[in-house]
């Protein structure tokens, strides 16, 4: 069952996002400024299917690719794990096969949400490399990374409330399985990319990785 359906309707909204029509996202504000001159953008949404996100991006003239990479990690889906020498090993390539057929170097934007907080550390480099390879020069990856002091939040789902605000649902009670990723580690994960960090008051950093080149 998709995660968003499993959550039901009674879950509490994130306190920051629930207060109004969504939480302002400094990273989104920044990146839409960069993309303002691109009329028909191509966007990958790595989160669960969100009608709101789709509606907002269609209005912006986007071609939208959707592949829910978040839900299998939240569920710790057994399909993507195997036992080798009495150890559980993540099947990274099978997991990345969840992505639809997207021509290399064609995306303007990848919305990856909290994907890197959920993926096993040994898979992070391949995940980032794969999505980075789909970006055209000047393309942007958008991530949410938890701060080290935020212990739980696996069970959240994020979506666009507007081009520059984000919404979240889920109780955020399930503990993160892996240590928080530092800014330095994030820079190492995206070699060649320009990493920009935006601090927020939600316990999460907003990270954008800009692929150099292009006309931006």
């Amino acid at each position: 069952m998709p995660f968003s359906a499993a959550l039901g309707k009674s879950e509490a909204k994130h306190p920051v996002a629930a207060a109004s029509g969504g939480a302002a996202s400094p990273a989104l504000e920044w990146l839409w400024g960069l993309l303002r001159d691109v009329p028909h953008i191509r966007v990958l949404d790595c989160g669960p299917v969100s009608p709101q996100t789709a509606q907002i991006l269609f209005k912006r003239g986007a071609k939208l690719y959707i592949a829910d990479l978040i839900a299998p990690l939240q569920r710790r889906d057994a399909l993507y794990w195997e036992r080798k020498d009495k150890q559980l090993v993540f099947r990274t390539q099978d997991f990345l096969a969840l992505l639809p057929a997207i021509p290399a170097a064609t995306l303007n934007l990848a919305l990856c949400w909290h994907l890197l907080d959920l993926a096993p550390p040994e898979a992070l480099a391949d995940v980032v490399k794969k999505i980075y390879g789909l970006l055209e020069p000047g393309g942007i990856m958008f991530y949410l990374l938890r701060e080290a002091y935020l212990p739980a939040g696996v069970d959240t789902a994020w979506w666009l409330d507007s081009l520059k605000t984000i919404q979240v649902k889920g109780q955020g009670k399930i503990a993160f399985p892996y240590p928080a990723i530092s800014n330095r580690e994030m820079e190492k994960l995206a070699p060649g990319g320009s990493v920009k960090t935006f601090l927020t008051r939600t316990g999460r950093r907003e990270i954008v990785v800009l692929k150099p080149g292009g006309t931006l």
């Binding site: 998709p2 968003s4 359906a5 028909h40 669960p48 299917v49 969100s50 009608p51 709101q52 789709a54 509606q55 269609f58 209005k59 003239g61 071609k63 939208l64 690719y65 959707i66 592949a67 829910d68 969840l98 639809p100 997207i102």
Partner: protein, 177 residues
């Protein structure tokens, strides 16, 4: 005795042994669908409406399918579907592996393949699509599974954008009720 006889004659007549129940009121349309609100009718995926052809649950077809009427698929279909001027509904039990061309496509079941609709594609929450969607208007319900791309046909860009916005909003509103 004389007074007992008189009492018997005062009793009311017994009720008839065979009662005739009132005739059941027949609805003008037994399906009741036209009088149902849209939100209720939408939740009856197995009901095929009059004028809509049906591929039933036990039917398995491989090949090329063309039709000049609306079609509901509750069975399995592999191949190509062409309903240029009509609506294709893939019911909750339907499993389709096909390239689909239609005016409108409503998905409650499972589809693998690319879908092109001149007017509208609706992916309901029970629906699952792996493939590419192209249409002037697309509505997706929360909870649906989708892997692929969505392309909005832009013959007149503002019009296309408006129709998408309206359809997506209406589905969200229905879902919230």
């Amino acid at each position: 005795m004389w007074w007992e006889k008189e009492k018997k004659t005062d009793l009311p007549p017994p009720p008839p042994l065979v009662a005739h129940p009132p005739e059941p009121v027949k609805p003008e349309n037994p399906r009741m669908e036209p009088s149902m609100p849209e939100t209720i009718r939408r939740d009856i995926p197995n009901a095929s409406s009059p004028g809509q052809a049906l591929i039933g649950r036990s039917i398995v077809i491989k090949g090329e399918l063309s039709a000049n009427e609306d079609l509901l698929i509750e069975g399995q279909f592999d191949g190509t579907v062409n309903l240029q001027e009509h609506c294709l509904t893939i019911g909750a039990n339907g499993k389709v592996k096909a390239q689909v061309n239609a005016r409108q496509v409503v998905i409650l079941g499972n589809v693998t393949g690319n879908i092109h609709a001149t007017e509208k594609i609706e992916l309901r929450k029970s629906g699952s699509v792996t493939g590419d969607l192209a249409s002037a208007s697309i509505a997706i319900e929360e909870g649906a599974y989708f892997k692929g791309s969505i392309d909005i046909a832009r013959n007149g860009a503002p019009e296309a954008a408006r129709s998408v916005a309206v359809s997506a909003r209406s589905l969200v509103e229905d879902y919230d009720k």
